[in-house]
Amino acid sequence: MIFGKLNPARSVGLAVLLGSTLLLGGCNDGSGDPRAEIGPNPKLPDLKQFLFPPIHIAHVVGWKQGETPNVAQGLKIQALATGLQHPRSLYVLPNGDILVVESKAPPAPTPKRPKDIVMGWVESWATSGGNTGTSNRITLLRDSKGDGTPDVRSVFLDHLNSPFGVALVGNDLYVANTDAIVRYPYKDGETKIDAPGKTLTELPGGPIDHHWTKSLVASPDGSLLYVGVGSNSNITENGMEAEHNRADILEVDRATGRFRVFASGLRNPNGLTFEPQSGALWTVVNERDELGPDLVPDYMTSVKDGAFYGWPYSYFGQHVDPRVKPQRPDLVAKAIVPDYALSSHVAPLGLAFYTGTSLPEAYRGGAFVGEHGSWNRDALNGYKVVFVPFSGGKPNGMAQDVVTGFLNSDNQARGRPVGVAIDKSGALLIADDVGNTVWRVTSAERVTSR
């Protein structure tokens, strides 16, 4: 309970928050059409700074018996597994077994300023999915019949440290905890790993660890690992020294654990995956907050070796952020404009290219994006899974809503989508962290390819 956790410092923060809300209550943040900010050329308004930024987060109510999200025409959805502990990402093993990474944020650091206390409270609303136990484990689901009812469910790995990314290369299974990439031996068909893990390389972790999810993918030849390391702040308010090797995608040599910065200026990169047609590395990125309801659009982009994508100095190319000191015009000048905007504050955390064949033809080759949903604008944005059509390895067309209904009619969150994956049968899987469910989306008409 929120009020059960109140301490004196937190009460002060709350008083300030409530006082300010009353003062500015009823104001609309003047947000525009979120769809104007989707695509390669989003319409960017002038930046605004606030005395009190818009804060609106969907209160979590969970799924009632029999409730499911809504799907686009031609699709159907059912729960693959329920009663999980804050599932955040998914990984499908070569034999079709599904790894569900259940993960919770690392312990919050000591507050640096009163706002940290208030924001901690706001975030507790964002992720409070009831008591979901200790989490920080990986559950294996095996659906031998391929009908969406797993016949094996076992705890695959336990006692992890806020894990997120998983990658298998040969018999080496890598788990990206929030502070390290750890390697485990894996044999085909195993439902549980008992062997202790071996640290391949440490990653930037606590004590602040603001963006803590470490997305992971192996290069197609298996020699390298790519890991997304989010920034340690919204916009450097924890000091530049806290940002060492952060807001980066690191390239890790699998043989030695040595890493280098592959690309930088990516505020919070997740969903690292290789686009199958072009072979390029793609990511979805959470952009900065508190510049207005329609700034800054989150985006998906191909990631070029050595490229700089703006954070913290600028956004969407050369739009300078005045909150950063000292400014770096030299870096702003070389900042790359991302490929495809997904609209502001939608919080994309999952990305999967559709490589299967069992969903309708229109989905072939495109990208599914899990949008966890907004907190920094009055009209909620995100809280859904969208599909971005691709052609020739590049986005081609408007994003379409594929899975919605995570919000009920009162704008309360029944669930929130995070990681997405394609299972062996070609179905779309969605990790729903506050709904504690993995959803499975298939064709409405049964494709009889088995």
Binding site: K115, E237, E290
Partner: protein
């Protein structure tokens, strides 16, 4: 003949209502906002010069503690002011009270500005508000001190 002690004080000096054993609470609390708001200006200046975020964080804490102390001091002061017409009759009373309400309102907005992230939480708006507040403080302080040292408000005997 009245033997009410309050009447006795009023014949000598205007008495304080918010007091503990004859010691008025208001002057005990006013050093808190004064010290904190001056401190916040100092840390704002150091941040503006150095860009070291720690100083901006100090400013925020100083502003919030100053505001809490200031509101409490204001409640004690307002209690004295409203419950004794002899205090209300002193020339500095209303300018002192209104001036300090302005200080608290400006500092509240200053705190909101300081909740922004990084550079623009201080420069320029936060720093300007801190300067204005610290310029008002000696004026309202002078008026407050004259209430005590010149007109003997809250002074026994």
């Amino acid at each position: 003949m009245k033997d009410d002690t309050k009447t006795l004080y009023t014949t000598a000096n205007p008495y304080s209502t918010a007091q503990i054993a004859g010691h008025p609470i208001h002057p005990m609390l006013v050093p808190i906002p004064i010290a904190c708001f001056i401190g916040a200006l100092v840390t704002d200046i150091v941040y503006a010069v150095s860009g070291e975020i720690m100083w901006a964080d100090f400013s925020t804490w100083l502003l919030i503690v100053g505001l809490i102390g200031g509101v409490l001091a204001g409640i004690a002061g307002l209690t004295d002011l409203l419950s004794n017409r002899h205090i209300r009759a002193q020339p500095p009373a209303w300018p002192h009270g209104i001036g300090n309400i302005v200080v608290l309102v400006l500092s509240f907005f200053n705190l909101l500005v300081h909740t922004r992230d990084a550079w623009t939480s201080v420069v320029p708006t936060g720093l300007i508000l801190s300067i204005i507040v610290v310029l008002i403080l000696p004026v309202t302080g002078w008026l407050g001190w004259s209430m005590v040292y010149r007109y003997g408000v809250g002074v026994l005997r």
